[in-house]
């Protein structure tokens, strides 16, 4: 119904002169766009812009919540610089993000290439099943995986014990805990990145590929020299998005390990949560959050300059 109304309306304006006349807002109505953006920007300003800017100030204060913040200059940043625990958190965050980005993107790209092949069957089934975990919360996926990784009662331990084998106690051994968290994240987001890669692959011209094949290129050569270069913007997008979310890992770590064992899965996000909301060192936490923000932006720019070089 809306469509016929729209068609009726658009058919009314046919003459160019009328169109030009109407392009300009009537006198005294220049405030109209501001009326439309105002509600959004009031909320956006109060709950995004203002806190982001205020956080810079708070990161230079000693602030314990109820009492007013006291300005202490760069002391929070200096203490972060000297805190071995923060260094550990930074290192862990980078390691987790690196393995997550690598695993998620390689797997998703391989899956998308497979699902995009002309001879592939049951695409819809695979797409839906792989995407489903993305719709549930990280908390829910983490409690489910808790019962997979757990020693003795976990699915992996039980399945291995059927064959008389003993695996690692995933969440209590350094290294294994990191791997467990990366695998959970990959499980949750694999379908999402696969879909983005698939959407990108469908824009690649099939004539170019056919031409290369006629000229005698092997299938892997077509993939490497034609398909992948054509979807470079999509690869960049997925790498940047997965890096940002990898650097901000929080929910599943709070559920599965709380940063343990021996701080081996302590991320910057978990560190700043503990500092801010458990020890009520809000100024210190704000400083840590700014370090995280700078790292996120720095790495995103770096990726833009390497993977995304000479892209528009």
């Amino acid at each position: 119904m809306a469509n016929t109304y729209a068609e009726e309306l658009s058919s009314k304006v046919t003459k160019r002169g009328e169109k030009r006349l109407a392009r300009y807002l009537p006198r005294g109505r220049t405030l109209v766009p501001y009326f439309f953006i105002m509600p959004f920007f009031i909320v956006f300003g109060l709950f995004w812009i203002f806190p982001i800017v205020a956080s810079i100030f708070y990161s230079m204060t000693e602030w314990r919540g109820i009492t007013p913040p006291v300005f202490i200059g760069m002391a929070n940043y200096v203490s972060l610089l000297n805190s071995p625990r923060f260094h550990q958190a930074l290192g862990n965050t980078l390691v987790l993000a690196f393995f997550y980005v690598l695993a998620a993107n390689l797997l998703a790209l391989a899956l998308a290439l497979l699902l995009n092949a002309g001879w592939m069957r049951m695409r819809q089934l695979f797409r839906t099943a792989f995407f489903l975990p993305m719709t549930i919360s990280i908390v829910v996926s983490a409690v489910i995986f808790q019962l997979i990784y757990a020693g003795e009662i976990g699915l992996i331990a039980k399945a291995l014990s059927v064959f008389g084998l003993r695996g690692p106690v995933w969440l209590q051994e350094e290294g294994w805990a990191t791997a467990a968290i990366v695998m959970l994240r990959v499980w949750r987001t694999l379908g999402y990145y696969t879909l983005i890669y698939l959407a990108g692959l469908q824009t690649v011209s099939s004539e170019l590929r056919e031409a290369a094949i006629i000229d005698g290129a092997r299938p892997w050569q077509v993939t490497w020299y034609i398909t992948l270069p054509s979807i470079r913007p999509v690869i960049l997008f997925c790498v940047v998005i997965s890096t940002i979310s990898g650097l901000e890992m929080f929910d599943e770590i709070m559920i599965l390990t709380q940063g343990g064992p021996a701080d081996s899965t302590l991320t910057v996000a978990v560190y700043l949560y503990q500092q801010g909301f458990q020890f009520l060192q809000l100024g210190h936490a704000a400083a840590a959050s700014y370090v995280l923000t700078c790292i996120v932006i720095f790495i995103a720019i770096l990726q833009r300059l390497t993977i995304g070089r000479d892209l528009p």
Binding site: K12, V43, I52, S55, F126, T135, I153, I196, V234, E248
Partner: protein, 282 residues
């Protein structure tokens, strides 16, 4: 590309390679579905079966689900989650579509800079905003109230972006014709633009709902008493008790998925297009 427009090409690998690939995909599919199956099976187990070595339950019971509603605040968390997410979704979709309309169809001073600020804000971690907001909410007595969870999700940068993209594809002539006919500016938006932008509205609404429904750090920080928790915080609480009732935790996790998985199956196309849009075009 759907299943029925299967294409064949001279460069297709041999049928045996194709079957090998499909079998590998099914193996991966089994791996991906295992956590779901394990959660469902475990939610029907008695405590003894969870703690013992066997994989399969010796008896199937419903009491994990019954206890969830009888002995915990679960129904309260469910209501809290619904209230907060529906409010954020409604408010967020309205604000986002109004602003998106202005960015798509009007020229005004400060347009470019405002748009870039909104886009740039998407890469800032939520941890940066939550610290000052926690302090301010405490000051104004908003800790442990619904608004503390609604407003942070009501101004969705991604929502504005999607609405702008979609509305800018609608013809300008519609608006101009309505103006000539003397239609008020807000009515143009409400009765012409909004109905035409329905597909994008649905996508934005779902994305905001999902973001709010699945959020953990916000309710974890803002909600103090157990009766004000949302589902993720409540489930995390059940899971972190001294001796967690894993069967009940699984039941809690699965029930919390029902609304979303239902919506997903009905609106799969919109969710997927919303989540993948912007990736390929810009």
């Amino acid at each position: 590309m759907s299943d029925n427009e299967r294409t064949t090409s001279a460069a297709d690998p041999s049928p045996s390679v194709q079957w090998f690939a499909i079998i590998m995909l099914f193996v991966l599919l089994a791996v991906v579905l295992t956590p779901w199956a394990w959660a469902i099976i475990s939610s029907f187990k008695v405590r003894g079966d969870i703690m013992s070595a066997g994989l399969w339950p010796r008896e199937w019971v419903l009491h994990n689900y019954r206890r969830l509603f009888a002995e915990t605040y679960y129904s309260r968390w469910l209501i809290n989650s619904l209230v907060v997410s529906i409010a954020a979704m409604t408010l967020g979709t309205l604000l986002g579509s109004m602003a998106g309309y202005a960015f798509a169809k009007f020229q005004f001073r400060g347009k470019t800079i405002l748009f870039w600020i909104v886009i740039a804000s998407m890469s800032i971690p939520p941890f940066t905003t939550i610290i000052p907001l926690f302090g301010w909410m405490a000051k104004f007595g908003l800790i442990n109230t619904y608004p503390a969870l609604i407003f942070p999700f009501a101004a969705s940068a991604f929502g504005l972006f999607l609405m702008r993209q979609y509305i800018s594809t609608l013809p300008d002539e519609l608006i101009e014709a309505a103006r000539i006919d003397g239609c008020g500016e807000f009515r143009i938006f409400w009765s012409i633009i909004l109905p035409l932008a329905r597909p994008a509205l649905g996508t934005v609404a779902i994305l905001i709902f999902l973001a709010s429904w699945n959020s953990f750090i916000w309710p974890l920080v803002m909600m103090r008493s157990e009766d004000m928790f949302t589902l993720p915080v409540g489930i995390a609480g059940l899971n972190s008790e001294q001796t967690p009732e894993y069967g009940m935790v699984m039941a809690a996790a699965l029930v919390s998925c029902i609304p979303i998985v239902t919506v997903f199956f009905f609106m799969q196309r919109q969710i997927i297009s919303g989540l993948t849009r912007g990736a390929v075009k810009s």
